[in-house]
């Protein structure tokens, strides 16, 4: 069992590998099948893990894959970070969503990307994304999460900018969008990285939970109570790992230990000396957390484990209980403040990845990527990574009320703001993008209210209906493009070239037709009935209409907001109520802009010939739509609240909550407040009816103005359409000064001063010095000296030459005088002596 867990990463990685190196040689169909098989293979593994968990009472497992002995190990610094994978209900939930929706989107992409010149590369990137996302959710420590975090950021960049070579300058637009996404994510990554540093400094480890830890005591106690506990201690044959009998003996009658029979929960010990139960097995490459013997005793809390052997969250709870302080060099901070700091940094990371204020700006631009990318990455999976991270770190967020408050406010504000902006968008995908930001705001707000189950529930339901909506919009866009080509065929009798490229027409002049612009659409319900039907289901699910999926998940969030406002008084309570109000208004906006979109796209009459000729899409695109529509209808029932009579559908009320709670310590089963649900429902339905009255009947878009612009809300619409000037503000605040600063550093400082000024000064100095050396010294002194010798010799010789008169008589005179001098010299001593 444990051996197949690494496959969930290896299969998509293998698919990416194959498509990278042999993709150009494969046909389109084969390349797509490699990708689809990789994706469905991962889905099958996830399903197997799911059934395994269902079968063994949701017991988690920590797996060391066979191909990694140990990942990062610096014994001298006490760093031990293993590549460990964690299979528990939370990660399996994410795995199922990622691989399930991912597989459907792979199938969809086979039809959508048909004819693209870099077809196989697309599937490479998709599989690579899957592999990294699965690393993110299966990691048992923060570093693996970060590896996956970065990897999906990279995949997102590659996929958004996939059409970087599109003609007419559009390629630049796509590349800029990709770069914007990467950079905005990078700012978030800084936050997450700081959080990881702080976590390591504070806790000395990055593991979520070590293999032996119990995650949620309450869940296990509840499970124990619901089973046939109550036996005394029964020493089963010791579990598969050696001599731990002595320990179980001493635990006779210990109040915290209840031994369960019939439960396949594993006995583990936290002794440091003996090879730690599951870790010894993990050193041999596998762990089986599903107990070997049915009589193994079980621990329901971590009291028996010394602090050093706990993971981050266990240590956090211990340190909070002891009120420890953390040393940072000469400073020290209380653990509460440190955890607040950590969670604030994590929030920064989440705002980057999950597109909250202030780093959400990349998500609307990311719509420049192909629609399957938008559906997979920017609706269902990558953007949920931030929410997953926060739910996984629920212990830390639960401990810090300050951060939770800020998280809730940010989430609710984002939900409201994005919902408002979505009202004024013309691009069909931009509406969905801002809708995603808004719904992510719901999830983040739920985390802020410490309502972790509703957050995850909304994550799952949202994945389905948002992916459905995106794929549906892709179908619409495809239809519009086809209609555009066929329209030209009809009108101009041009040769119909294989018109599935996404480039503009090469034959006709580049007209301003944008297949994604809703102003050209209309009346598509008749032309594309299946697309329309599934889109309608997605819309109703998103708007939170009973009994579709969104109703259940959204209501749980609102209920938790209300309860938090009631329980906590003062500022926090007021904040919760404000957030509740914002979320309600955002829900209203959601229903309104979705129905506006329905009216603009599907109802009414076509506003452009392309819409009149749009065909229904290929089966490879319709089939995923149908599957997702089915799930959008039914997935909500997996977490029906108790008390209303719908529990029979999923075999029990709040099944999902029970499932998630095992892995999330501070989660609780959601409460259902019928009155609040009714309010939300009426808000949703009311918004739809309002939209219908404003936009319905063919007056959605007339004479170049949106129907809303004819009402009193026109300036509001204008502001919304201008996207609240976020990009312009960022440009003015950050980007322009940054460019100016970099220009200053590059041009003024580096080129003008350093290069032209300083370097030229050096050059002139050098030249001047050389000149000094050359003329005065070389020519003046040295040459003069050397030549002077010669000139001296010449001058002397010219003087001396005159002795050579040539006359014999002169020589005779000289000879005589010399002789006389010699004689005198000889005679001098005589004169000196005697005289």
């Amino acid at each position: 069992m444990a051996q197949i867990v690494p496959l969930i990463i290896l299969i998509p990685a293998l698919g990416a590998f194959i498509n990278t190196f042999w993709g150009s040689r494969l046909e389109e169909r084969q390349s797509a099948l490699v990708g689809i098989f990789a994706s469905t293979g991962a889905f099958i593994v996830a399903l197997l893990l799911f059934f395994n968990l269902m079968g063994n009472n949701y017991q988690e497992a920590v797996i060391n894959p066979f191909f990694f002995d140990s990942w990062i190990r610096i014994p001298s610094a006490g760093v031990e970070i293993p590549w460990q994978m964690r299979v528990d209900t939370l990660s399996v939930t994410m795995m199922l969503v990622i691989t399930g929706v991912g597989s459907l989107i792979h199938v969809y992409a086979m039809g959508y990307m048909h004819g693209d010149p870099r077809f196989s590369r697309f599937f490479t990137y998709l599989n690579m994304f899957l592999a990294f996302m699965l690393i993110l959710v299966t990691g048992n420590n923060f570093l693996m999460l970060f590896v996956g975090w970065e990897g999906v950021g990279l995949s997102s960049y590659l996929l958004i900018g996939f059409w970087f070579d599109k003609a007419h300058g559009e390629g630049y637009r796509n590349a800029n969008a990709a770069r914007k996404a990467f950079i905005a994510n990078r700012v978030g990554d800084f936050g997450l990285l700081m959080a990881i540093f702080l976590i390591f400094w504070t806790f000395g480890t990055l593991d979520f939970y070590k293999a032996a830890e119990v995650v949620n005591t309450h869940a296990l106690t509840g499970a124990a109570a619901s089973q046939n506990a109550g036996h005394g201690d029964e020493h089963g044959s010791d579990a598969s790992h050696g001599a731990e009998d002595s320990h179980s003996t001493t635990e006779d009658g210990h109040a915290s230990i209840i031994v369960l029979t019939g439960a396949s929960l594993q006995e583990t010990h936290g002794e440091a000396t003996d090879a730690h139960g599951s870790e010894s097995a993990s050193e041999h490459g596998e762990t089986d957390a599903h107990g070997a013997s049915p009589d193994a005793p079980v621990y329901l809390n971590n009291d028996h484990i010394p602090t050093e052997l706990l993971g981050v969250f266990g240590k956090a709870e211990r340190m909070l209980a002891e009120n420890a302080t953390v040393q940072f060099g000469p400073f020290s901070l209380g653990i509460g403040a440190v955890i607040t700091l950590i969670t604030l940094f994590m929030l920064l990371g989440a705002t980057g990845k999950s597109a909250q204020i202030p780093l959400f700006i990349w998500l609307p631009d990311a719509m420049a990527g192909p629609t399957p990318v938008s559906a997979l990455i920017h609706a269902a999976t990558m953007v949920t990574a931030g929410v997953y991270m926060m739910v996984r770190s629920n212990v830390l967020f639960h401990a810090s009320d300050t951060t939770s408050f800020i998280v809730a406010i940010i989430g609710a504000t984002t939900a409201l703001m994005a919902g408002y902006i979505a009202l004024g968008q013309w691009d069909i995908k931009k509406v969905l993008a801002y809708s995603t930001v808004s719904q992510l705001g719901f999830m983040v707000a739920a985390v802020g209210f410490q309502a972790y189950v509703p957050a995850m529930f909304h994550l799952v339901t949202h994945a389905f209906f948002k992916a459905l909506l995106f794929l549906g919009s892709g179908s619409v866009i495809h239809g519009m493009e086809h209609g555009h080509h066929h329209m030209h065929d009809h009108h101009k009798n041009e040769a119909h070239h294989d018109g599935h490229e996404h480039d503009e027409h090469a034959i006709v002049e580049h007209d301003a037709f944008d297949p994604q612009d809703m102003r050209y659409m209309g009346g598509l319900a008749r032309r594309m009935p299946l697309t329309y039907l599934t889109y309608l289901i997605g819309t109703l699910a998103l708007a939170g209409i009973f009994p579709f999926a969104g109703f259940w998940s959204k209501d749980e969030i609102l209920a938790d907001a209300f309860l938090k406002g009631v329980e906590d008084g003062g500022l926090v309570g007021a904040g919760a109520f404000i957030a509740l109000g914002m979320l309600l208004i955002a829900a209203g906006f959601t229903a309104f802009y979705m129905w506006r979109q329905m009216e603009l796209v599907f109802y009414g009459d076509h506003r452009h010939d392309a819409a009149a000729h749009a065909p229904e899409s290929a089966p490879s695109m319709i089939l995923p739509l149908l599957v997702l529509a089915f799930f959008s209808l039914t997935i909500g029932f997996m977490n029906t609240p108790s008390g209303i009579g719908l529990a029979w559908i999923a075999g029990g009320a709040h099944r999902f909550a029970d499932w998630i709670i095992v892995s999330v310590q501070h989660a609780h089963v959601g409460v259902f407040l019928p009155l609040l649900a009714l309010v939300a429902l009426s808000v949703g339905i009311g918004a739809i009816l309002l939209a219908r009255s404003i936009y319905g009947g063919g007056k959605a878009y007339v004479d170049g103005t949106d129907a809303l612009q004819k009402t009193v809300f026109a300036p509001g619409f204008q502001l919304s359409s201008a996207r609240l000037y976020w990009d312009e503000i960022y440009f003015a605040l950050f980007i322009t000064p940054f460019i100016r600063a970099s220009k200053f550093f590059g041009i003024t400082l580096d080129w003008n001063w350093w290069h032209d000024g300083f370097h030229h000064a050096l050059r002139d100095l050098f030249n001047g010095f050389g000149r000094i050396l050359a003329r005065p010294i070389e020519s003046g002194i040295i040459d003069a000296t050397v030549l002077g010798v010669g000139r001296l010799a010449t001058w002397v010789s010219s003087r001396m030459r005159r002795i050579q008169t040539g006359y014999v008589r002169t020589y005779a005179v000289v000879l005589l005088s010399g002789a006389i001098l010699v004689i005198i010299a000889l005679l001098i001593p005589l004169f000196q002596n005697g005289g």
Binding site: M800, R801, R802, I803, Q804, T805, G806, Y807, V808, R809, A812, V813, L816
Partner: protein, 100 residues
């Protein structure tokens, strides 16, 4: 007897006259004659001192000097004949081609 000093003085006078003759004369043969005069003055001085010291070395040396004088004259006159053949004159002031 005649005193040795008289002979030496005579030798000196003859020597000086010969020297002046060498320096002043332009005719090459006359220069040679002056050189002979100088040599003979030296000879006289040798003989005078030989008599004074009753030593035969002086006489011997005169032999050598005379031999050398004769050889020198032969060579010198050969030179003069050669010069005359090229310059048609024996004025020594015309022989200044090797000047600096």
């Amino acid at each position: 007897m005649v005193q040795t000093e008289a002979f030496v003085m005579l030798s000196a006078v003859l020597f000086v006259m010969g020297t002046l003759g060498v320096l002043v004369r332009r005719n090459a043969i006359l220069v040679f004659m002056s050189v002979e005069l100088m040599l003979n003055a030296a000879n006289l001085s040798f003989v005078a001192f030989a008599k004074h010291w009753q030593n035969l070395d002086g006489h011997l040396f005169v032999f050598f000097v005379m031999t050398v004088a004769a050889a020198e004259v032969a060579v010198g006159l050969a030179l003069i004949v050669t010069i005359f053949r090229s310059k048609q004159s024996i004025d020594i002031d015309e022989l200044h081609q090797m000047e600096g």
